[in-house]
């Protein structure tokens, strides 16, 4: 390493100042990112009156989180638990189905040559660039004309279509599934679907996890589609339910319970994020579509 022309002492001083500056920026940005989440955690431990009277960023005298959770689960015949289950059902079921369908389509687009292949793939690419919320309203109009609205399927069917998943699995299959392996399977007399199931799916596993995660989060966080499609609150996912409570301005359900509900609803997702970071990054950087 070459030393720059300035005296070593002065260079050291500016470097130290620079490092303090860098650290200050990072700490400020971290505070900006974390404080609202901290507020959520702290507020979920407060009683309704403490929520208004105590400092928002610190605990009040009593920690009421257990009581808040048990009250929350009892409100309106336990509808909050029902919402969580709905979210789980939409997200797990939808993401599983979406992953399988995407893997099949992406695999075929990568490994078979057939007429119209590029056209199909370009159509899928185009669909990635047009955000899903844009389709929610026309889909609602169409579903309402065919009387599918306000059913489980109105939310579930759109959830299992993931153009991004197809894109991701095509890229991954093209790179990771060797033709020789498929040929070997064919020589052994395996059918095409058997080859897909026992060879391709195994090789594609990491990308399947990525697709599953992305679709899980997309469905879990979706608000526009279910809020349009579902009038029946027993079918709604947790996002729609919580916003509806908030709209009633604390009259039916007090604020501290809404906050507790919000905290509970983000725990599954945050835990998934933390556990599966490397899959997230793989998905984010190989296409970066929400």
């Amino acid at each position: 390493m070459k030393q720059s022309s300035a005296g070593p002492a002065r260079a050291g001083a500016t470097r130290a100042a620079g490092r303090i500056g860098v650290l200050a920026v990072l700490v400020l940005a971290a505070l900006y990112s974390l404080l609202p989440v901290w507020w959520l955690v702290v507020s979920a431990t407060k009683s309704s009156s403490d929520l208004f009277s105590s400092n928002g960023f610190w605990f009040a005298g009593r920690i009421e989180i257990v009581r808040n959770v048990s009250t929350l689960l009892g409100v309106q015949d336990g509808i909050y638990g029902r919402w969580l289950l709905n979210s789980l059902l939409y997200a797990v079921g939808g993401a599983l189905a979406a992953t399988l369908l995407s893997a099949m389509a992406g695999y075929v687009l990568a490994k078979y040559t057939f007429r119209g292949r590029e056209a199909v793939f370009n159509t899928v690419l185009g669909a990635i660039l047009i955000p899903a919320p844009l389709f929610a309203l026309p889909l609602y109009l169409m579903f309402s004309a065919t009387h599918i609205v306000n059913t489980f399927w109105a939310v579930f069917i759109p959830s299992i279509v993931s153009p991004f998943g197809v894109y991701l699995s095509r890229i991954y299959a093209a790179a990771a599934v060797p033709d020789e392996l498929l040929e070997a399977g064919r020589i052994d007399g395996a059918g095409e679907f058997r080859i897909f199931r026992s060879i391709a799916l195994r090789v594609l596993q990491p990308s399947l996890v990525t697709i599953f995660l992305f679709q899980f989060v997309t469905i879990w966080t979706n608000y526009l589609l279910p809020s349009l499609m579902l009038a029946n609150d027993r079918l709604q996912p947790v996002t729609v339910g919580l916003v509806a409570w908030k709209e009633q301005r604390g009259q039916t359900v007090p604020y501290n319970l809404i906050i507790t509900g919000a905290l509970l609803s983000v725990i599954p997702i945050v835990v998934m994020f933390l556990l599966l970071q490397r899959y997230w990054k793989a998905g984010l950087t190989s296409g970066s579509v929400k």
């Binding site: 720059s4 940005a29 996002t239």
Partner: protein, 333 residues
């Protein structure tokens, strides 16, 4: 490039569109490549169709059909007779819905509003994301893992829940931020008309900076070490290294995050809808999607379809325009 829609049922003049790419898993014709080998060949030829069918069918139902349906609906109007004694009839009205939508001040100003919010918020957010990515990429930065995770955490929180949190943080009677500001003599109402665009922009910045930072940071990490070391040997370090070497090399990532941020802002919905709970003055057509949904609520399905199509066109023009701009400069997606 685009699921170009055609209206299947009407003879109506369809708005100009690009080539129609067969979106369906069209029955594959004779396969050119594989060598014919007995009767297995016939099956092999249909395999792609079998694999594509489940996704293709659902894709048609949930992506292509709604577009066609919305285009179709946008060309009709519900005609009610003067006294309302007979059931309303659907009348073909050509593009008059579009004329109405463009003359609807609430709708056009919602489009302008999100464009203005995006014009301020997107550069701010991406600037911050780039700065943080560069700092995390610098060799001597301490606590990289912690900071990266901290910045990324808001992205893990669903947009609508993030909106819910911030709506409490803005709400005058609960807000610890307003409290703290009042403590130093500043009285701010984050839910007032003049503050709303900033308040919503802040929720977006909070939620998406970390996401963009990760994308840019990954691009930075892909820069070969030899390159930065060579630059460092030439005396190019710190900010000069960032400006002259690193930033030009991550331009594709920057352009990509820009495109997706533009698209994201144009479809703004969750945050303002949640904010409505604390800001009653926030109009029900504050953003284009809200405006379209407003028409649904009023049972004006044709008007809603028209607004959806117009918004899709705006996003199409913005994103594909940007894509072409990017591609012209030789940066890949």
């Amino acid at each position: 490039m685009h699921p170009a829609p055609t209206t299947p049922t009407t003879a109506a003049p369809v708005r100009s569109h690009e080539e129609r790419t067969g979106p369906a898993p069209a029955p594959s014709g004779p396969t050119p490549a594989p060598a014919p080998r007995g009767r297995a060949v016939d099956w092999r030829r249909w395999t792609p169709l079998g694999f594509l069918l489940p996704f293709g069918t659902l894709f048609l139902i949930t992506f292509v059909a709604p577009i066609c349906y919305a285009l179709h609906q946008s060309l009709f109007k519900l005609h009610r007779s003067g006294l309302g004694l007979t059931p309303p009839s659907t009348v073909f009205t050509g593009l008059s819905n579009y004329a109405d939508a463009l003359a609807d001040g609430a709708f056009t100003s919602s489009v302008v509003r999100v464009l203005l919010i995006g014009a301020v918020q997107v550069p701010l957010m991406l600037g911050l994301a780039l700065l943080l990515a560069l700092l995390l990429d610098a060799r001597r930065t301490p606590g990289k893992r912690f900071f990266r995770l901290a910045f990324f955490l808001p992205y893990a929180i669903p947009g609508v829940i993030g909106g819910l949190m911030w709506s409490f943080l803005y709400q005058p009677d609960v807000s610890p931020i307003a409290d703290a500001l009042a403590g130093i003599g500043l009285h701010v109402d984050f839910t007032s008309d003049s503050w709303l665009p900033w308040s919503v922009g802040n929720i977006l910045t909070w939620g998406w900076t970390g996401y963009n930072m990760i994308v840019i940071h990954s691009a930075l990490k892909a820069i070969p070490d030899e390159l930065t070391e060579a630059a460092a040997l030439d005396g190019c370090t710190g900010w000069r290294l960032a400006w002259h070497v690193k930033i030009p090399l991550v331009r594709p990532a920057l352009l990509m995050t820009t495109v997706f941020s533009i698209i994201g802002t144009a479809q703004l919905y969750n945050e303002p809808v949640v904010m409505k709970a604390v800001a009653p003055n926030l109009s029900s057509s504050w953003t284009p999607i809200m405006a379209a949904q407003n028409e649904v609520a009023a049972n004006n399905y044709h008007a809603a379809a028209t607004r959806s199509v117009l918004l899709a066109l705006v996003i199409f023009v913005l994103s594909f325009g940007f894509m072409r701009f990017v591609n012209k400069r030789g940066a890949a997606l």
